[in-house]
Symmetry: C2
């Protein structure tokens, strides 16, 4: 999956692993995250596969930046991935639900404390979506053609809308769950 995120961004313009890390942190991180270690190793593998080429940029003295450029093969791989629609649901993973599922033998107050911690975290996450996210991304975004920016923003906004809807749902469920547990005594 990371492979296609890297192809997607490099299809806008050539970049270094460091640039990609920063852009991912400010854009896709809320629905797909990656550590720099994985980014660098994946870029190297993709170059071996012929999807990218790289050259060391020595314009600034000693600071060596390895700039990656997408190849026609890479663009074809990206297009092929886009053409093939998702036809299944992912296997959701939610550690909090696992913990809650096995919480019948825990003290109610202990479980409530844990849910309140999660409530605070999700509240913060929602505030991030409401105030920071779009501006943040637009500042970090790679240069794109003027005429396509509007259309791109429509799609980016949809992912932000999802994040906001997700956090609102999560908070509502946490509140409902906390209430039910409080009345359980």
């Amino acid at each position: 999956m990371l492979k296609y995120i890297l192809l997607g961004f490099l299809n806008y313009s050539p970049m270094t692993g460091y640039d990609l890390k920063r852009i991912i942190d400010h854009s896709t991180a809320h629905f797909w995250h990656a550590y720099h270690s994985q980014i660098y190793t994946t870029l190297a593998r993709m170059e071996d596969e012929g999807l990218l080429t790289s050259e060391t940029d020595d314009s600034d003295d000693k600071l060596s930046r390895r700039v990656y450029t997408i190849t026609p093969t890479g663009q074809a791989a990206l297009a092929a991935w886009q053409r093939q629609p998702l036809t299944s649901l992912p296997h959701g993973k939610n550690e909090l639900l696992v913990r809650l599922f096995f919480s019948a033998d825990r003290k109610t107050e202990e479980v409530l404390d844990e849910l309140r911690i999660q409530r605070r975290l999700h509240q913060q996450q929602l505030e991030l979506y409401n105030h920071i996210y779009l501006d943040d991304y637009l500042n970090e975004a790679p240069p794109t053609e003027q005429q396509n920016v509007a259309r791109e923003m429509v799609f980016w906004q949809m992912t932000i809308d999802f994040g906001r809807a997700y956090e609102q749902m999560y908070l509502a469920w946490l509140d409902e769950t906390i209430n039910k547990l409080t009345e359980l005594d």
Copy 2:
């Protein structure tokens, strides 16, 4: 994580890998899923770690069932895990959002088709939560003490409520997104 799910179920009663697979499929699968291959290898590793013991049940002639039992060490590990609350948010992974994020250069109709496929899948998932899920689990559930069943059901129900809220949110977002895209032409 699977380790604690296995400890959680084996804390109710001794079981085989096959039993655990079936119970997981009918209970935690919607928030944590595992293939039988991972279950068997994890059980073996846990026995090495002293969290479980196993014995081959030869009561039925040739059909060999390896029954795992939780040890005091295993119960201590489960209790320690329960006591340590979750204090962070997981890194969400959502392939559909990745695809949507890089969809500005795709044909609108192609993207709409993909979203409609997802809509159908999530609709099915929601119907599962509304009709089948609880009954299904109660039939597969391991025997527990009468007095604790009511409290356990409260917690199980909370995970089902989450699933339902999640699918409802997802469907609402898909509808909104489909509408916005339809009006984009």
